[in-house]
């Protein structure tokens, strides 16, 4: 796991690829109690809301970005701040890859800033994000 004194700006955190399915989107929207039909009703989504397909929830992609951070961090620190913006919609069938780099290191405060992204298969960033993590003193 990362040690604060070994980190360098520009270091990449591990990438992970997600492929949402009808089942995973159903379960996610059930878990957050989101009845919006664009996440499970394809005829409605394409005919009425004019999307090319069932929409992968923006906050689900936000969640995947938090996982990029907390899985990299493991027990060596805490996520204290996180933000993302849904710039480009993604649709069922797309493979989305999360990743990020170390953007800034405040060694005295044990705080590390990360730049994050969700990329589609074309390599476009669909959901940019950022996070701040606080490293535990014992992990330094």
């Amino acid at each position: 796991m990362p040690k604060l004194h070994e980190l360098k700006v520009g270091l990449e955190i591990p990438a992970r690829t997600f492929e949402a399915t009808e089942v995973s989107l159903f379960l996610y929207n059930a878990a957050i109690w989101n009845p919006h039909r664009i996440h499970y009703d394809e005829p409605y989504t394409t005919r009425v809301e004019k999307h090319p397909g069932v929409v992968i929830d923006g906050p689900l992609q936000g969640d995947w970005l938090t996982q990029a951070v907390v899985n990299w961090l493991s027990d060596d620190g805490t996520l204290i701040e996180f933000e993302y913006a849904n710039r480009k919609a993604s649709y069922l069938g797309e493979k989305l890859t999360t990743g990020g780099i170390v953007r800034d290191i405040e060694a005295e405060e044990s705080i590390v800033a990360l730049e994050l992204w969700v990329k589609n298969e074309a390599g476009d960033i669909t959901t940019p994000g950022s996070a701040k993590v606080l490293f535990d003193a014992r992990a330094n």
Binding site: L27, A31, P35, T66, N71, Y84, N86
Partner: protein, 151 residues
């Protein structure tokens, strides 16, 4: 730039919604962890909630006859808008304390801003909310600025 936001709509800025009281259960955490493909045991066992677990938990639960043709509650999360199709816009969260099974949380939401932007496929209206989550004892758990887009 068109002017889609009028003074009537603007009056909603600053409005607070009724607070939501939420009992966090291990089972709900596990459901969320499975659906989001979490990999850490503490989440999959339901000991602790993943960071985005509370997404949409500030919204009131509506009966089926209070849901519109798009599936969403007809009373919305703000004024009636000339652009009807809703999309997620993003969020900024600050975490103060881990959420554990058994916690009883109070979620408060306030509409803080409303503005227009020109998107690639037409005009967009952004609604911005401040969401504050505390324990029943008033301990701060999370602060969030959340955006929704109407297109």
């Amino acid at each position: 730039m068109s002017n889609l936001i009028d003074d009537e709509m603007r009056k909603w800025i600053g409005r607070e919604d009724p607070e939501v009281r939420m009992e966090v259960t291990r089972r709900d955490i596990v459901k969320y962890a499975i659906a989001t493909e979490q990999q850490q045991e503490k989440y999959l066992r339901g000991d602790e909630a993943p960071p985005m677990f509370l997404f949409a938990a500030d919204r009131p639960l509506r009966a089926l006859d209070e849901l519109g043709p798009d599936g969403l509650p007809t009373d919305g999360m703000g004024p009636p808008l000339p652009l009807k199709r809703v999309m997620a816009g993003g969020t900024k969260q600050r975490y103060y304390r881990a959420i554990k099974a058994g916690d009883v949380l109070i979620l408060k939401r306030k509409l803080t801003d409303m503005f227009e932007k020109q998107g690639s496929s037409g005009p967009l209206i952004f609604l911005e909310y401040l969401i504050t989550v505390t324990t029943e004892d008033g301990e701060l758990v999370l602060e969030e600025t959340m955006r929704r887009i109407n297109r």
